[in-house]
Amino acid sequence: MATAESALHNATAHDHHDHEHHDNFITKYIFSTDHKMIGKQFLVTGIFWAIIGGALSIIFRLQLGFPDMELHWLKPLLGGWIDEGGKLDPNFYLALVTMHGTIMVFFVLTAGLSGTFSNYLIPLQIGARDMASGFMNMLSYWLFFVSGVIMFISLFIETGPASGGWVVYPPLSALEQAMPGSGLGMTLWLISMTFFIASSLLGGINYITTVINLRTKGMSFSRLPLTIWAFFLTAVIGLLSFPVLFSAALLLVFDRSFGTSFYLSDIYIGGEALPNTGGSAVLYQHLFWFLGHPEVYIVLLPALGITSEIIATQSRKPIFGYKAMIISMLGIAILSFVVWAHHMFVSGMNPFLGSIFMFLTLIIAIPSAVKVFNYLTTLWRGNLIFTPGMLFSIGLVSFFISGGLTGIFLGNSAIDIQLHDTYFVVAHFHLVMGSASFFGLMAGVYHWFPKMFGRMMDARLGYIHFWLTFIGVYMVFFPMHYIGIAGFPRRYYSWTNFEFTNMYTDLNMFVSAAAIITFAAQAIFLFNFFYSMYRGRKAPMNPWRSTTLEWTTPVNPGHGNWPGEIPAVYRWPYDYSKPGAAEDFIPQTVPLSATPESNLPHEQELVKLEKEIIAEEEAMLVADETKTV
């Protein structure tokens, strides 16, 4: 024991004084600085928000699919927002849409996905005891929590939550006279988002620092699992773009409360002409989408990272084109900053800018295509094991293709004239961003649950959950393409006012029914998740026979992750089914010198170098031992 303890001390990069942890409930479960607990906190909070966000969408889908339905039964929940006739208030319809978007994009898919897995996996997969700053990490979670509390409160105030769409364009969001949601609800939205941005930045700085500084011996950047690459680049994107959202929000606060005119000009509303002149509503859109577009990749990249890892593991094959995958992600990360104005082709900005952004936008489709081809080739001639995590990963690839291809229509400004702000866009981003990232989240939960909770989730419930959700998502979002091509605009409370939209009541009903079923199917997951946490089958140490470092920790890793020394790394993370090897996987911790039978020619040369390093290390260990004993 003494040797293990001392080894632990020496190998710790930062000072790690606490010998025995006497965690009480509060330091263990609430104000925890352990990255694993913080990851789980993000996960559970994310699940909570997913339920809220999903429920909101069910309410507005009822309105769209069954416009004649009487909603009296929702009165206990929605109160005055349901009128005497049992009809949903149109203002509240917009509030629902807005809150659904905000919650899903930021709370579920940014915090819930990136927050959970960056926190949980970065230290475990790079071989670190914890994050660079445990305290900042804790702060990051609690700022997110506060942000959530504020947003939650805003759902219940008398004038309703923010209602200007998740993009909250001014002047609508700036003027209280314009709609009830632009009053207190919007103020709370802005405060909440400020906390959220602070949380993201603290988290992001931590992820970046940790990946750069705390990798274990031998874990060079070219040996990082693709998950880590994805989390790392995501954090960089977030760090560069969230501050811009903050500035947009700040200027909006000034316009709302301090009489400035950043976004306001020439406005006559509520029977009076406002004094503001010289502002530009389009300026806000530029600032917003400078975050907004990178944000879609902040949401998607971690999901792609998770999928890469799972597809390789469960195909028992190395990921095809490891380097190409990294280069594509880098390309996406950089390009994501120069395509934002494709959301604004018909905003009134200079059409010449439209041309520029059309070219840049279609360039970003190339790395996306490369990723898809690489996934397909990884499956090709694999030996596929369909764990629920694998199923969700394959589902993600399907959504990524379906939604990515419609991006090529929208990125073409001439075609976008017709499609902008129609249901075609809704279909596009729900598939490529919403559903793909959600599937990444699910895949990750199923795959790493054994590590998180030391128990297995039930596979068969996982299959049922997957198939219901996969088919359900397509039934919900695929028909929206037709509706969108027919020209149905977004954020409409009802379709009956226009001849060109006064059709497809059947299809809208179908979509709503599919949405309800898909939403209900998530109960299977919830049951599986919480039940397995306490009663699931005990997990073995490496249930998926995976090569990465997290599976070398004990089944229930304690504070510091490895009881002994942190293992060193000798190879890349994708040595699956290597010819000559005894097993169909070789963990990253196995030295090349131990596997002469399977080494490739260039690896054979590394063996000598490796032997020297090992000898050196052993000498150090012996020296340590003599010191402490």
Partner: protein, 344 residues
């Protein structure tokens, strides 16, 4: 009642899940299958992918063909024909990619499902392949962009001199339609002049505004260029004329524009669609508040002669409401009164 039903439904669902779960756990323990790498489910899942491919693919083709005339809006503008063509070319290209990639994505799981007798092939990279599938999409995309770019520059080019000007001003929650009158020049406007009798904030000290008139519908001639001058007076709105393939935001403080050439009169379109009720419509596509879903204006496309006659028949603002010019400086007022008397 609904609440009760839902509660029962949820309870039922939960108990079914619970039972299925217990039974299959017991079964798997009896069979000892929890110790194997894969269970029989692996085969079922692999097969499901094929079923999904066939089922969903079939559904997609069936519905796309059956509903084609429904979702494919008739087009009634010159540039609309071009953008529609771009749309369908893109659809063909992406459609092929969509189908091929999905066939591979769902066949591979079936074909390469786990078998103890096989090992996966160790195939970490192939530079040639990677170059091919980087370069080929790049070329295809470049071609698509160039098509789009040409159309876009034509559409957004300055309107021809002779274009008929129509001003569309969005406000909560309607469109105000203003015509420049015989001179085809809109009078100036200032949002501070807005009031109940001057919705558009027209500045009547500008001579050009004396013959401006408003109209409950957007009346335009077929075959001649029409220029929409678009603005908003309170929040963002967006002019969307789906049959014209036209969309442009209305921004307070920043006038925007969109010009086009209508190609079919309303009457022709009614005949073509065999629908005597048909009307061209304008909707709002930028969220603007409670009434966003109801900002409708009709567009009536007529033959050019009929259009000219219609314009000549319209009464300017100041004729309908002489009070508008009551406070003007003397010289202008006389001019206005002459105009008014001309129309009487």
């Amino acid at each position: 009642m609904y609440g009760f039903l839902i509660a029962v439904g949820v309870l039922l669902l939960l108990s079914i899940i619970w039972m299925v779960y217990r039974i299959q756990t017991l079964v798997s323990v009896v069979k000892g299958s929890d110790k194997k790498v894969v269970t029989g489910s692996n085969k079922v899942n692999a097969l499901m992918f094929i079923l999904f491919l066939v089922g969903a693919g079939g559904l997609m083709f069936w519905y796309s063909i059956k509903e084609f005339d429904n979702y494919n809006l008739p087009v009634a503008s010159e540039h609309g024909v071009v953008t529609d063509q771009l749309f369908w070319v893109t659809m063909a290209v992406t459609g092929i990619v969509f189908i091929i990639t999905h066939i591979l994505l769902f066949i591979f799981p079936y074909k390469y499902q786990y078998s103890e007798r096989r090992t996966a092939s160790f195939y970490p990279d192939n530079n040639k392949l990677e170059v091919i599938w980087t370069v080929v999409p790049a070329i295809v995309l470049a071609l698509l962009v160039i098509g789009g770019w040409r159309a876009w520059t034509d559409i957004t080019a300055p309107a021809p001199e002779n274009a008929h000007v129509v001003e569309l001003m969005g406000y909560q929650f309607a469109w105000e339609v203003r015509y420049p009158g015989m001179d085809n020049v809109l009078g100036a406007n200032d949002y501070r002049l807005t009031n109940a009798s001057n919705v558009s904030g027209v500045d009547f000290t500008d001579r050009n505004s004396l013959d401006d008139f408003s109209s409950p519908v957007v009346y335009i001639p077929k075959g001649e260029p029409v220029l929409f001058k678009i603005r908003a007076r309170d929040v963002l709105h967006s002019v969307f004329a789906p049959h014209m393939r036209l969309k442009m935001d209305a921004v307070p403080g920043m006038p925007t524009r969109f010009w086009f050439v209508p190609t079919k009169t309303t009457a022709e379109m009614r005949a073509e669609l065999n629908n005597p009720e048909f009307n061209y419509e304008i909707a709002c596509t930028e969220i603007c508040g409670r009434g966003h879903f109801s900002m409708k204006r009709e567009i009536v496309v007529v033959e050019p002669d009929e259009f000219r006659k219609w314009v000549a028949d319209q009464k300017p603002y100041i004729v309908n409401n002489p009070a508008l010019v009551a406070d003007l400086p003397l010289e202008l007022k006389e001019l206005a009164e002459i105009t008014i008397s001309e129309y009487k």
